[in-house]
Symmetry: none
Subunit: 231 residues, 2 copies
Amino acid sequence: MAANILIVEDEESILELIAINLHQSGFNPMRALNAEYADKLIQEAIPDLIILDWMLPGMNGIEFAKRLRSNSSTKKIPIIMLTAKSDEENKIVGLESGADDYLTKPFSPRELVARIKAVLRRKSPELIDDPIKISNLHLDPSTHRVESNGATIKIGPTEFKLLHFFMKNPDRVFSRNHILDKVWGNQSEIDDRTVDVHIKRLRDVLTNNGHDKLVQTVRGMGYRFSENQEN
Amino acid sequence: MAANILIVEDEESILELIAINLHQSGFNPMRALNAEYADKLIQEAIPDLIILDWMLPGMNGIEFAKRLRSNSSTKKIPIIMLTAKSDEENKIVGLESGADDYLTKPFSPRELVARIKAVLRRKSPELIDDPIKISNLHLDPSTHRVESNGATIKIGPTEFKLLHFFMKNPDRVFSRNHILDKVWGNQSEIDDRTVDVHIKRLRDVLTNNGHDKLVQTVRGMGYRFSENQEN
DNA sequence: AAAATTCTGTCATAAAAATGTCATAAAAAT
DNA sequence: ATTTTTATGACATTTTTATGACAGAATTTT
């Protein structure tokens, strides 16, 4: 399940930049422009991780982090601090105040996503996409690689996503529209039948590597990924 | 089929957070920021479950729940209450006012999804595609597979739907028109007698897998699926 | 920046599977 | 024995899926 991540950042354009990047990386961003609003949100729903700007209007990030740590229902939420100051001292203060990681502005969104994954892996491994192995096929989301036995399989971007989706949900049947939604992203105006073509491409790739019949057609329904007998 | 779930929550970020999490869990979220709009949505289409914030602007959640309970067309919709107040008293009032479950803020979206599934399983099992097992026959809607003992049975789309319908309603007699309605969908202009043919096809499939006499003819009435003796 | 390569989505056509109807046989009821 | 209802096999048609080709987009290499 996708992790819900609260971003607390007073600079709206940065907030949005982060949110969009997180969304593209498969997270659910929640936005707060200040500590008060963040508080309000947290009182209603508990995020899986918080990205916290060091400098906030009103209450600064450190203070906010301390408050979170002192409340039993928020104590365990991992925090990643963002700061403009790069000196070591602040870093130490930040980490002491309870942050799990610390990122200096300007940072690359890629780096942030990597840090988030690292923290989540440590704190809530169930929220992270671990490597999956089914029937000699080994898919590793973090390296974006698929192996059959030891050999790396060459596979296109869409086919990778498709395979990843299937391997995360083996044996279940999905309609073309469901697949479009999950693999292409919802508001895609792509034709149903395009799925067929990519299924074909994925099948070709797998067949060339000795994996027949993993992707199965369920007539009138959609497709299924399964190492079990067809039908 | 994906359950339609109406979320009534005045805090927009939270509403959206819940909606996204429900969507990712395969539900169909309907959004309402207040009781009035919720009313409007309910009049257009009855949801399968309602998530209701205790505190709403204008009319509070309890009141709204009571209203739903007093109207015959909405009486049976399961309700899950969200509340900021954690004391027992409110919980009791909430449950007495007709809520089926109760979640205290701050809640984790994952917990909410789990509760929804639990309530649906209790109140509208037909919305949850659980596997059905009757007399060695095992039908799993999510994988779209039918097994007899461990062996997968090859079965066509219409026969699958027919079998699914029968297994969901064992031991009851259905007229051909009733079956047409439920399996083919209502506005079908298909001949009554076509049902006979598909019954035959289903019987063939089952017989080939050692299941005699599960589909029984009730002369002048229609058909019945039962593991008990005929007549 | 240009060229080369890879990737995408769509379409047309082929191939496969499923469907509904009908005629006739079989069974049950009267 | 006759009538009514159901079972069954055949089959033409329709529906659904597979596949190859292609042009434009996107990405990588040069």
